[in-house]
């Protein structure tokens, strides 16, 4: 009886630790996501739209989860240096130029990417500062 009680307490403790760990991650994610939404409004929304819908055949939407997943490690460079040329997004061809958001700091890039890749039907989880810093070193 006593053993069962101690085991029970132990299990509860482990569960509590696990739960608090997870919520730490969640808090970090939420922090990135909510600052990211403010940055999106200031830097991206005019062209890409409130719902990431883009604009007809002029500006690509941000709803193509496959494209965002496949190019996950290049996204930081796209923001920082701009993007030019032909792109196939959501089964459609786009050709134009996205201006560089050179004034965004790496932490801001991480936040806005976390917002974009977890909105508009995307669900990729956190893109943190460390990942963005690593990705930016690999820009072509």
């Amino acid at each position: 009886m006593k053993l069962a009680f101690i085991t029970g307490i132990g299990l509860l403790f482990i569960m509590a630790v696990a739960a608090s760990c997870q919520s730490d991650e969640q808090i970090e994610f939420k922090r990135y996501y909510s600052s990211g939404s403010v940055l999106y409004l200031a830097h991206c929304q005019n062209c890409h739209g409130e719902k990431g819908e883009g604009l007809q055949a002029l500006i690509p939407p941000l709803t193509d989860s496959v494209f965002l997943k496949q190019n996950r490690s290049s996204l930081a460079c796209y923001l920082k240096n701009g993007l030019k040329g032909k792109l196939s997004i959501a089964g459609r061809e786009f050709e134009g130029e996205m201006p560089a958001a050179a004034d965004l700091s790496p932490i801001e890039v991480a936040k806005v990417l976390t917002y974009i890749t977890n909105s508009f039907g995307n669900k990729q989880g956190l893109i943190n500062l460390q990942q963005v810093q690593a990705d930016l070193k690999e820009c072509k």
Binding site: N46, C47, G49, L55, Q56, A57, L58
Partner: protein, 217 residues
């Protein structure tokens, strides 16, 4: 006594309803105005002259010449943009598409968008932009002209456009200007604000029912 009060209330309610319905909504006339006194049948008559959009000549995305005559008998909306504009133009034309969709079946309605970067936005560039925007037919014209002509006419629409700033950006405001069949300014709307563009659509419908507009050819 009770009956009199009842009757008064009914009359009050009735007249309040009536006054609400009897005055048709009209839009204000914007811009400078001046009184002009003429002599008609030997008597002086004072009339108000409103400022109007003067004669102009531009070329649209189909390389057709568009003049003030092309807009005779038409209500239209004007704005100023350029195709490589990274800031407010996409949101303006996302909103303008709603105006286009609402009135594209009406041959007495037009949208004109003047490019303020005629050097880059040549006629083929404007055509490509129109195609990508998904607009066709003659409802929405993208107009090319000299920089001087475009900047001059912008002033008549009370819109502010300027030369490139040191960062290489054009400064212009995102207003949509509503013009009636007599080429008088009837409203200005922030084209970057979807709520204002919804109001523009409602105002165009109001304007179309004004006696002056119904009669004008």
């Amino acid at each position: 006594m009770k009956n009199i009060i009842c009757a008064l209330i009914i009359i009050a309610l009735y007249s309040s309803c009536k006054s609400g319905n009897s005055t048709p909504a009209t839009l204000p006339i914007l811009g400078n105005r001046e009184p002009v006194t003429k002599t008609v049948n030997g008597k002086p008559v004072t009339d108000t002259v409103y400022s109007t959009i003067p004669a102009f000549k531009f070329v649209n995305q189909y390389a057709d010449t568009i003049t003030n005559k092309s807009l005779d008998g038409k209500i239209y909306v004007a704005d100023f943009f350029f195709t490589t504009c990274p800031s407010i133009c996409p949101v303006m034309h996302r909103n303008m598409l709603n105006v286009y969709k609402e009135f594209k079946a009406d041959d007495n309605f037009r949208i004109i968008s003047h490019t303020i970067d005629p050097k880059y936005d040549t006629v083929p560039v404007l055509k490509k932009y129109a195609d990508k925007l998904g607009i066709s037919g003659n409802t929405w014209w993208l107009l090319h002209g000299t920089k001087e002509d475009t900047y001059q006419i912008a002033k008549k629409y009370l819109v502010s456009v300027q030369e490139k700033n040191p960062q290489g950006e054009y400064i212009h405001d995102g207003y949509f200007i509503l013009v009636d069949k007599q080429k008088r300014l009837r409203g200005t709307y922030d084209g970057t604000d979807p709520a204002q563009v919804t109001k523009l659509i409602a105002d165009i419908k109001t304007l179309k029912t004004e006696p002056d507009q119904v009669a004008a050819k």
